[in-house]
């Protein structure tokens, strides 16, 4: 018998669809000699193996397909940053910049600026203060031109309440929070309480992927003694990753002698708004709300008693009273910080 015929019959045998005539033909062949029988069994095994391999083959193809898609998703991201995609815009940008500089020069803007600066350095009058206030305001709201505002928030309850500054979330329609320890997940949050005058807001994570925030390690100290020189530190997102800053309480009152806030000597930048201020025991004692551009080292932090007031107003109706247990009180500073970091959130407001 020809080999092709044999393998055909073998396959039919495996699939159990031999007719009588074919059965006899195969029987004769197998019984003819020992080597024939061996060949027959070899064929059977091979066909079975091939049949069996099917689902594994399909799975392997599927995995390879997924792998390709996974890699392409990264390639697309990289593509955005190649030089060739930027070149067409460079010439346009260069022409615009030259035009703007020329206009400014002709209109005498540069000399005007110099006069203003000299004036600021020399005087310490009410005008300077109002200018300082204006620049403070500008720092806080200068992000209007770009597409989103970035700031910091921190967790204050296990069901997803976060505290932050009100000026960040005002006037915007979408608030996204990103955890410091897992930056791949952006979650939606909504405003549940705020005080415009005191510049404080409470957000609640309202995203479907959010389950809970467990074991918040720090507590909030609502009536700590305000003593000059008390060591304080803060964690915030003045760039896209978290930044630690430390200093001391430097004044009893905040901007324009505001008694609801204190002045601390922590270096801060835009994006630090809403950062918690901790004392050496890992207790929250304030929330950074702004700084005075005209004065060095003057960052203002909202006193935690303000937080208490707004949380009390919440607990009366919707939420249970917030109680946090401090588990890092006696840890060294670096250990405290690493425990706290997972509970600090970057917020992006669109």
């Amino acid at each position: 018998m020809k080999n092709t015929r044999l393998i055909e019959l073998c396959e039919k045998y495996v699939n159990d669809c031999l007719n009588e005539q074919e059965k006899n033909e195969l029987q004769l062949f197998v019984n003819a000699s020992e080597s024939n029988k061996q060949l027959f069994e070899e064929n059977l095994n091979f066909i079975k193996e091939l049949n069996n391999f099917g689902k594994y083959y399909l799975f392997e193809q599927n995995v390879k397909q997924v792998s390709r898609q996974y890699e392409e998703s990264f390639k697309n991201v990289r593509k955005q940053f190649t030089l060739s995609s930027v070149i067409p815009y460079i010439s346009v940008a260069a022409v615009s910049i030259v035009a703007v500089l020329f206009t400014l020069y002709v209109s005498g803007w540069f000399s005007y600026k110099q006069q203003i600066q000299a004036y600021r350095q020399l005087s310490n009058s009410i005008t300077t203060i109002s200018k300082n206030q204006k620049s403070l305001w500008n720092t806080l709201f200068s992000t209007n031109e770009i597409t989103y505002v970035r700031g910091t928030a921190f967790a204050i309850s296990s069901d997803g309440l976060l505290a932050t500054s009100y000026h960040l979330v005002k006037d915007y329609d979408s608030v996204l929070v990103i955890n410091a320890s897992d930056s791949s997940v952006k979650m939606h949050a909504k405003l549940v309480a705020c005080d415009k005058n005191l510049d404080i807001a409470i957000l609640k994570i309202s995203d479907s992927v959010f389950a809970s925030i467990k074991n918040i390690p720090y507590s909030i100290n609502y009536n700590f003694p305000v003593e000059l020189g008390t060591y304080v530190y803060s964690l915030g997102f003045s760039k896209s990753s978290i930044v630690f800053g430390e200093g001391s309480i430097s004044s009893f009152t905040g901007f324009n002698e505001d008694t609801n806030s204190i002045q601390v000597s922590i270096p801060t930048n835009p994006g630090n708004s809403g950062s918690p201020v901790f004392n050496q025991y890992g207790e929250v004692i304030g929330i950074i709300c702004g700084k005075n551009d005209g004065k060095e080292g003057s960052t203002y932090a909202l006193h935690s008693k303000v937080l208490k007031n707004i949380l009390d107003s919440l607990s009366n109706n919707k939420f249970n009273r917030i109680y946090l247990k401090n588990t890092i009180k006696y840890l060294p500073k670096n250990k405290q910080v690493s425990k706290i970091v997972p509970y600090i959130f970057k917020i992006e407001i669109y």
């Binding site: 092709t4 064929n43 391999f53 083959y57 392997e60 997924v66 792998s67 898609q69």
Partner: protein, 186 residues
């Protein structure tokens, strides 16, 4: 912070059994970075990581087909353990040192995984795959359409441009014989 997963482990195992692309894609995204990290830390490159990870998923597919299969740990841990095992085998094969391995995550011991049988089967399957590649066209297409994608001879004849199913069938048996020869020679 806890993130709720869209699938639980039982659903993922079922998804692998069903060869569900969405589940595979999810598992790929969740587990690949850890395993790539492990392999890079222990003397491999990105291509090694890709190969090992794909092989781990296929091994897992074999594993879940077994009748007595049950998950003794989290699925992530399980996949990591398989990949770790495969990479150590690979290192041993290259006769490299496997004494000080940088661990990335906790893992199951090898005697709990029982991968030896699967490794044997995989060797045969890889041999078969390689033989199929060596066979070339049109045999490769005919055989894979028939045996893997389960097309009928009529469909194959149309797709491959044979005048009728009978011709395609004869061609298929010739291909099968050749495949067997290559496979046995290796």
């Amino acid at each position: 912070m806890n993130i709720r997963s869209p699938f639980n482990d039982d659903e993922l195992v079922q998804g692998i059994k069903d060869n569900n692309s969405m589940v595979i894609s999810y598992i790929y995204k969740k587990n690949y970075p850890t395993i790539a990290n492990f392999i890079r830390l222990n003397g491999g490159n990105d291509d090694d990581a890709k190969d090992i990870f794909q092989e781990s998923l296929i091994t897992l597919f074999h594993k879940v087909q077994q009748e007595n299969f049950s998950l003794t740990s989290k699925l992530n841990t399980y996949i990591y353990s398989i990949a770790r095992n495969l990479w150590l085998t690979e290192l041993k094969r290259k006769q490299k040192n496997t004494d000080d391995i940088n661990e990335v995550e906790e893992f199951l011991p090898n005697d709990e995984l029982l991968l030896d049988d699967i490794e044997l089967i995989r060797q045969n399957q890889k041999r078969l795959m390689w033989s199929l590649e060596k066979l070339g066209e049109p045999c490769k297409s005919i055989l894979s359409y028939f045996y893997f994608y389960q097309w009928s001879m009529q469909e194959i004849a149309e797709k491959m441009g044979y005048t009728n199913a009978e011709n395609a069938k004869n061609q298929k048996y010739k291909c099968l014989l050749r495949l067997k020869k290559i496979y046995q020679k290796m």
